[in-house]
Protein backbone atom coordinates (compact mmCIF):
# COMPACT_ATOMS: atom_id res chain seq x y z
CA UNK A 1 0.00 0.00 0.00
CA UNK A 2 1.35 3.43 -0.96
CA UNK A 3 2.36 5.51 2.00
CA UNK A 4 3.56 8.69 0.33
CA UNK A 5 2.25 10.99 -2.40
CA UNK A 6 3.88 10.34 -5.76
CA UNK A 7 5.63 13.72 -6.03
CA UNK A 8 7.44 13.21 -2.74
CA UNK A 9 8.43 9.69 -3.71
CA UNK A 10 10.01 11.00 -6.94
CA UNK A 11 11.92 13.66 -5.02
CA UNK A 12 13.06 11.25 -2.31
CA UNK A 13 14.30 8.65 -4.78
CA UNK A 14 16.20 11.26 -6.81
CA UNK A 15 17.69 12.66 -3.63
CA UNK A 16 18.79 9.20 -2.49
CA UNK A 17 20.33 8.30 -5.86
CA UNK A 18 22.33 11.55 -5.86
CA UNK A 19 23.46 11.52 -2.23
CA UNK A 20 24.14 7.80 -1.71
CA UNK A 21 27.93 7.59 -1.88
CA UNK A 22 27.83 4.20 -3.58
CA UNK A 23 25.45 5.38 -6.29
CA UNK A 24 25.92 9.12 -7.00
CA UNK A 25 23.55 8.91 -9.95
CA UNK A 26 21.91 12.05 -11.36
CA UNK A 27 21.14 10.70 -14.80
CA UNK A 28 18.27 8.32 -14.11
CA UNK A 29 14.73 9.60 -14.61
CA UNK A 30 12.10 8.82 -11.99
CA UNK A 31 8.37 8.96 -12.67
CA UNK A 32 5.37 7.56 -10.83
CA UNK A 33 2.27 6.19 -12.53
CA UNK A 34 -0.33 4.89 -10.12
CA UNK A 35 1.50 2.61 -7.72
CA UNK A 36 4.42 2.00 -10.05
CA UNK A 37 7.75 3.82 -9.98
CA UNK A 38 9.53 3.85 -13.35
CA UNK A 39 13.30 4.28 -13.43
CA UNK A 40 14.58 5.28 -16.85
CA UNK A 41 18.09 5.80 -18.16
CA UNK A 42 21.34 4.08 -19.05
CA UNK A 43 24.17 2.97 -16.77
CA UNK A 44 27.55 1.26 -17.10
CA UNK A 45 27.04 -1.95 -15.19
CA UNK A 46 24.52 -4.45 -13.91
CA UNK A 47 25.81 -3.83 -10.38
CA UNK A 48 25.12 -0.10 -10.67
CA UNK A 49 21.63 -0.74 -12.00
CA UNK A 50 20.93 -3.18 -9.19
CA UNK A 51 22.14 -0.69 -6.60
CA UNK A 52 19.81 1.97 -8.06
CA UNK A 53 16.83 -0.38 -8.04
CA UNK A 54 17.55 -1.53 -4.48
CA UNK A 55 17.81 2.07 -3.25
CA UNK A 56 14.57 3.03 -5.00
CA UNK A 57 12.83 0.03 -3.49
CA UNK A 58 14.01 1.03 -0.04
CA UNK A 59 12.84 4.63 -0.39
CA UNK A 60 9.52 3.91 -2.14
CA UNK A 61 7.96 1.41 0.22
CA UNK A 62 4.60 0.27 -1.07
CA UNK A 63 5.36 1.09 -4.69
CA UNK A 64 6.29 -1.38 -7.40
CA UNK A 65 9.65 -0.56 -8.97
CA UNK A 66 9.83 -0.89 -12.77
CA UNK A 67 13.46 -0.60 -13.89
CA UNK A 68 13.67 0.56 -17.51
CA UNK A 69 17.40 1.05 -17.11
CA UNK A 70 19.64 -0.04 -19.95
CA UNK A 71 23.12 -1.33 -19.20
CA UNK A 72 25.28 -0.15 -22.08
CA UNK A 73 28.87 -0.55 -23.19
CA UNK A 74 30.58 2.26 -25.07
CA UNK A 75 30.71 1.68 -28.82
CA UNK A 76 33.87 2.59 -30.72
CA UNK A 77 34.39 6.13 -31.99
CA UNK A 78 31.28 7.45 -33.67
CA UNK A 79 30.70 9.29 -36.92
CA UNK A 80 32.72 12.24 -38.16
CA UNK A 81 30.97 15.57 -38.59
CA UNK A 82 32.57 17.94 -41.11
CA UNK A 83 32.09 21.56 -40.11
CA UNK A 84 32.59 23.98 -42.95
Amino acid sequence: VSTEPAEYVVAHIRDRLASDGDIAELGVGVTVHGERVFLDGSVHSVEHRDAIVAAAREVAAGYEICADIIVCEPADGGPEERLR
Binding site: G21, A24, G27, G29, G41, S42, H44, S45, E47, H48, C72, E73, P74, A75, D76, G77, G78, P79, E80, E81, R82, L83, R84
Partner: protein
Protein backbone atom coordinates in the same frame (compact mmCIF):
# COMPACT_ATOMS: atom_id res chain seq x y z
CA UNK B 1 42.13 20.19 -41.42
CA UNK B 2 41.77 19.75 -37.69
CA UNK B 3 40.10 16.61 -36.44
CA UNK B 4 38.75 16.93 -32.92
CA UNK B 5 37.60 13.86 -31.00
CA UNK B 6 35.45 14.67 -27.99
CA UNK B 7 33.43 12.96 -25.26
CA UNK B 8 32.27 13.84 -21.75
CA UNK B 9 30.41 12.29 -18.85
CA UNK B 10 32.09 8.92 -18.98
CA UNK B 11 31.70 8.56 -15.20
CA UNK B 12 34.30 5.86 -14.64
CA UNK B 13 34.31 4.05 -11.30
CA UNK B 14 37.06 1.94 -9.77
CA UNK B 15 35.63 -1.17 -11.44
CA UNK B 16 35.81 0.39 -14.92
CA UNK B 17 39.48 -0.25 -15.71
CA UNK B 18 39.93 -1.02 -19.44
CA UNK B 19 36.38 0.08 -20.17
CA UNK B 20 37.23 2.96 -22.53
CA UNK B 21 40.70 2.15 -23.78
CA UNK B 22 39.74 -0.72 -26.12
CA UNK B 23 37.49 1.72 -27.98
CA UNK B 24 40.33 4.18 -28.57
CA UNK B 25 42.46 1.86 -30.68
CA UNK B 26 41.96 3.81 -33.95
CA UNK B 27 41.92 7.25 -32.34
CA UNK B 28 45.31 8.15 -33.82
CA UNK B 29 44.05 7.52 -37.37
CA UNK B 30 40.80 9.40 -36.86
CA UNK B 31 41.69 12.47 -34.79
CA UNK B 32 44.41 14.99 -33.94
CA UNK B 33 43.32 15.71 -30.39
CA UNK B 34 40.95 14.22 -27.81
CA UNK B 35 38.85 16.53 -25.64
CA UNK B 36 37.27 15.29 -22.41
CA UNK B 37 34.33 17.45 -21.30
CA UNK B 38 34.25 16.63 -17.58
CA UNK B 39 32.51 14.14 -15.29
CA UNK B 40 35.27 11.70 -15.94
CA UNK B 41 34.81 10.01 -12.55
CA UNK B 42 31.69 8.85 -10.78
CA UNK B 43 32.28 10.54 -7.40
CA UNK B 44 35.52 12.47 -7.83
CA UNK B 45 37.50 9.94 -5.77
CA UNK B 46 41.25 9.84 -6.45
CA UNK B 47 41.01 6.06 -6.93
CA UNK B 48 38.57 6.67 -9.76
CA UNK B 49 40.84 9.34 -11.23
CA UNK B 50 43.60 6.72 -11.33
CA UNK B 51 41.35 4.58 -13.52
CA UNK B 52 40.63 7.55 -15.81
CA UNK B 53 44.34 8.39 -15.96
CA UNK B 54 45.18 4.83 -17.04
CA UNK B 55 42.47 4.84 -19.72
CA UNK B 56 43.77 8.02 -21.36
CA UNK B 57 47.54 7.82 -20.85
CA UNK B 58 50.02 7.26 -23.69
CA UNK B 59 47.50 7.83 -26.47
CA UNK B 60 48.77 8.82 -29.93
CA UNK B 61 47.08 12.25 -29.70
CA UNK B 62 47.17 14.96 -27.02
CA UNK B 63 44.36 14.74 -24.47
CA UNK B 64 42.85 17.94 -23.03
CA UNK B 65 40.25 17.83 -20.26
CA UNK B 66 38.11 19.88 -17.94
CA UNK B 67 36.64 18.50 -14.73
CA UNK B 68 32.90 18.24 -14.09
CA UNK B 69 30.70 18.47 -11.02
CA UNK B 70 31.05 14.74 -10.34
CA UNK B 71 34.83 15.20 -10.30
CA UNK B 72 34.31 17.65 -7.42
CA UNK B 73 31.93 15.50 -5.35
CA UNK B 74 34.60 14.04 -3.03
CA UNK B 75 36.07 17.53 -2.50
CA UNK B 76 39.36 16.40 -4.01
CA UNK B 77 39.45 18.09 -7.42
CA UNK B 78 43.12 19.00 -6.98
CA UNK B 79 44.05 15.34 -6.46
CA UNK B 80 41.92 14.32 -9.45
CA UNK B 81 43.60 16.95 -11.57
CA UNK B 82 47.10 15.95 -10.43
CA UNK B 83 46.52 12.27 -11.22
CA UNK B 84 45.30 13.12 -14.73
CA UNK B 85 48.20 15.49 -15.33
CA UNK B 86 50.69 12.86 -14.14
CA UNK B 87 49.28 10.64 -16.90
CA UNK B 88 49.91 13.34 -19.50
CA UNK B 89 46.38 14.78 -19.70
CA UNK B 90 46.24 18.58 -19.86
CA UNK B 91 43.56 19.79 -17.43
CA UNK B 92 42.15 23.28 -17.87
CA UNK B 93 40.23 25.48 -15.42
CA UNK B 94 40.09 29.05 -16.65
CA UNK B 95 43.25 28.24 -18.56
CA UNK B 96 44.34 27.43 -22.08
CA UNK B 97 46.81 25.30 -23.99
CA UNK B 98 48.17 25.56 -27.51
CA UNK B 99 48.67 22.61 -29.87
CA UNK B 100 50.35 22.41 -33.26
CA UNK B 101 48.10 20.49 -35.67
CA UNK B 102 48.52 20.20 -39.44
CA UNK B 103 50.66 23.30 -39.54
CA UNK B 104 48.14 25.35 -37.59
CA UNK B 105 48.23 26.65 -34.05
CA UNK B 106 45.16 25.40 -32.20
CA UNK B 107 44.25 26.92 -28.85
CA UNK B 108 41.95 25.23 -26.36
CA UNK B 109 40.52 27.23 -23.47
CA UNK B 110 38.68 25.24 -20.85
CA UNK B 111 36.68 25.49 -17.66
CA UNK B 112 34.09 23.49 -15.79
CA UNK B 113 31.67 26.40 -15.84
CA UNK B 114 28.61 26.40 -13.60
CA UNK B 115 24.82 26.77 -13.59
CA UNK B 116 22.64 29.84 -13.18
CA UNK B 117 20.34 29.66 -16.17
CA UNK B 118 19.86 31.39 -19.47
CA UNK B 119 19.01 34.89 -20.58
CA UNK B 120 15.51 35.82 -19.50
CA UNK B 121 15.26 32.97 -16.99
CA UNK B 122 18.34 33.03 -14.81
CA UNK B 123 19.41 33.76 -11.28
CA UNK B 124 20.62 37.19 -10.19
CA UNK B 125 23.08 38.35 -7.58
CA UNK B 126 20.25 39.41 -5.32
CA UNK B 127 18.87 38.46 -1.93
CA UNK B 128 20.38 35.87 0.35
CA UNK B 129 24.15 35.36 0.43
CA UNK B 130 23.71 31.79 -0.85
CA UNK B 131 21.94 33.05 -3.96
CA UNK B 132 24.43 35.84 -4.50
CA UNK B 133 27.33 33.40 -4.10
CA UNK B 134 25.78 30.95 -6.55
CA UNK B 135 25.43 33.52 -9.32
CA UNK B 136 28.71 35.29 -8.50
CA UNK B 137 30.56 31.97 -8.76
CA UNK B 138 28.99 31.30 -12.15
CA UNK B 139 29.96 34.76 -13.37
CA UNK B 140 33.47 34.45 -11.98
CA UNK B 141 34.29 31.12 -13.64
CA UNK B 142 32.88 32.40 -16.94
CA UNK B 143 34.99 35.58 -16.70
CA UNK B 144 38.19 33.63 -16.11
CA UNK B 145 37.31 31.30 -18.97
CA UNK B 146 36.64 34.25 -21.29
CA UNK B 147 39.97 35.85 -20.41
CA UNK B 148 41.80 32.61 -21.21
CA UNK B 149 39.94 32.23 -24.50
CA UNK B 150 40.36 35.86 -25.55
CA UNK B 151 44.08 35.78 -24.78
CA UNK B 152 44.67 32.95 -27.25
CA UNK B 153 46.41 34.20 -30.37
CA UNK B 154 46.00 31.05 -32.48
CA UNK B 155 44.66 30.09 -35.89
CA UNK B 156 41.80 28.13 -34.32
CA UNK B 157 40.21 28.60 -30.90
CA UNK B 158 38.29 25.81 -29.19
CA UNK B 159 36.15 26.24 -26.07
CA UNK B 160 35.93 23.22 -23.75
CA UNK B 161 33.35 23.24 -20.93
CA UNK B 162 31.43 20.86 -18.74
CA UNK B 163 28.29 22.94 -18.15
CA UNK B 164 26.36 24.09 -21.18
CA UNK B 165 26.68 27.60 -22.61
CA UNK B 166 23.34 27.37 -24.45
CA UNK B 167 19.80 26.05 -24.11
CA UNK B 168 19.65 24.44 -27.55
CA UNK B 169 21.81 21.47 -26.58
CA UNK B 170 19.67 20.89 -23.48
CA UNK B 171 16.56 20.01 -25.48
CA UNK B 172 15.29 16.76 -24.01
CA UNK B 173 16.10 17.79 -20.46
CA UNK B 174 13.32 19.08 -18.21
CA UNK B 175 12.96 22.84 -18.56
CA UNK B 176 12.84 23.23 -14.81
CA UNK B 177 16.42 22.06 -14.37
CA UNK B 178 18.00 24.24 -17.07
CA UNK B 179 19.45 26.63 -14.45
CA UNK B 180 21.40 23.68 -13.03
CA UNK B 181 22.70 22.64 -16.43
CA UNK B 182 24.42 25.77 -17.62
CA UNK B 183 24.64 29.50 -17.88
CA UNK B 184 24.44 32.14 -20.56
CA UNK B 185 27.56 33.68 -19.00
CA UNK B 186 29.43 30.85 -20.72
CA UNK B 187 27.86 31.63 -24.11
CA UNK B 188 28.87 35.28 -23.73
CA UNK B 189 32.38 34.13 -22.94
CA UNK B 190 32.46 31.83 -25.99
CA UNK B 191 31.23 34.67 -28.22
CA UNK B 192 33.36 37.45 -26.73
CA UNK B 193 36.43 35.24 -26.56
CA UNK B 194 36.24 34.46 -30.28
CA UNK B 195 35.87 30.68 -30.18
CA UNK B 196 35.43 28.75 -33.44
CA UNK B 197 33.54 25.93 -31.73
CA UNK B 198 32.50 24.99 -28.20
CA UNK B 199 32.12 21.57 -26.58
CA UNK B 200 30.36 20.67 -23.36
CA UNK B 201 28.82 17.74 -21.50
CA UNK B 202 26.69 17.52 -18.33
CA UNK B 203 23.28 17.30 -20.04
CA UNK B 204 22.76 13.56 -20.46
CA UNK B 205 19.26 13.88 -21.87
CA UNK B 206 20.09 16.83 -24.11
CA UNK B 207 20.91 16.95 -27.82
CA UNK B 208 24.20 17.15 -29.66
CA UNK B 209 23.97 20.29 -31.77
CA UNK B 210 23.36 23.94 -31.09
CA UNK B 211 24.90 27.38 -31.46
CA UNK B 212 25.51 30.42 -29.31
CA UNK B 213 23.57 33.68 -29.79
CA UNK B 214 26.68 34.93 -31.62
CA UNK B 215 26.64 31.99 -34.04
CA UNK B 216 29.40 29.78 -32.65
CA UNK B 217 28.72 26.07 -33.06
CA UNK B 218 28.12 24.17 -29.81
CA UNK B 219 28.31 20.41 -29.42
CA UNK B 220 27.03 18.48 -26.39
CA UNK B 221 29.36 15.48 -26.30
CA UNK B 222 28.01 13.86 -23.12
CA UNK B 223 28.46 10.13 -23.64
CA UNK B 224 24.75 9.35 -23.10
CA UNK B 225 24.00 11.83 -25.91
CA UNK B 226 26.56 10.70 -28.50
CA UNK B 227 26.46 6.99 -27.57
CA UNK B 228 30.03 6.35 -28.70
CA UNK B 229 33.45 6.40 -27.07
CA UNK B 230 33.90 9.75 -28.84
CA UNK B 231 32.65 11.69 -31.85
CA UNK B 232 34.95 13.37 -34.36
CA UNK B 233 34.44 16.96 -35.53
CA UNK B 234 36.50 18.17 -38.47
CA UNK B 235 37.26 21.87 -38.92
CA UNK B 236 38.45 23.12 -42.31
CA UNK B 237 38.33 21.64 -45.79
Amino acid sequence: VIRIAAVGDIHLGVEDRDRWRPHLSDLGERADVLLLAGDLTRHGEPAEAEVVAAEFSDLPVPVVAVLGNHDHHADEPDAVRRLLEDAGVTVLEGESTVLEIDGQRVGVAGAKGFGGGFAGACGSEFGEPEMKNFVAHSRDVACRFERALAALDTDVKIALLHYSPVEETLRGERLEIYPFLGSYFLAEAVDNGGADIAFHGHAHAGTERGATPGGVRVRNVAYPVIGHAYHVYTLGD
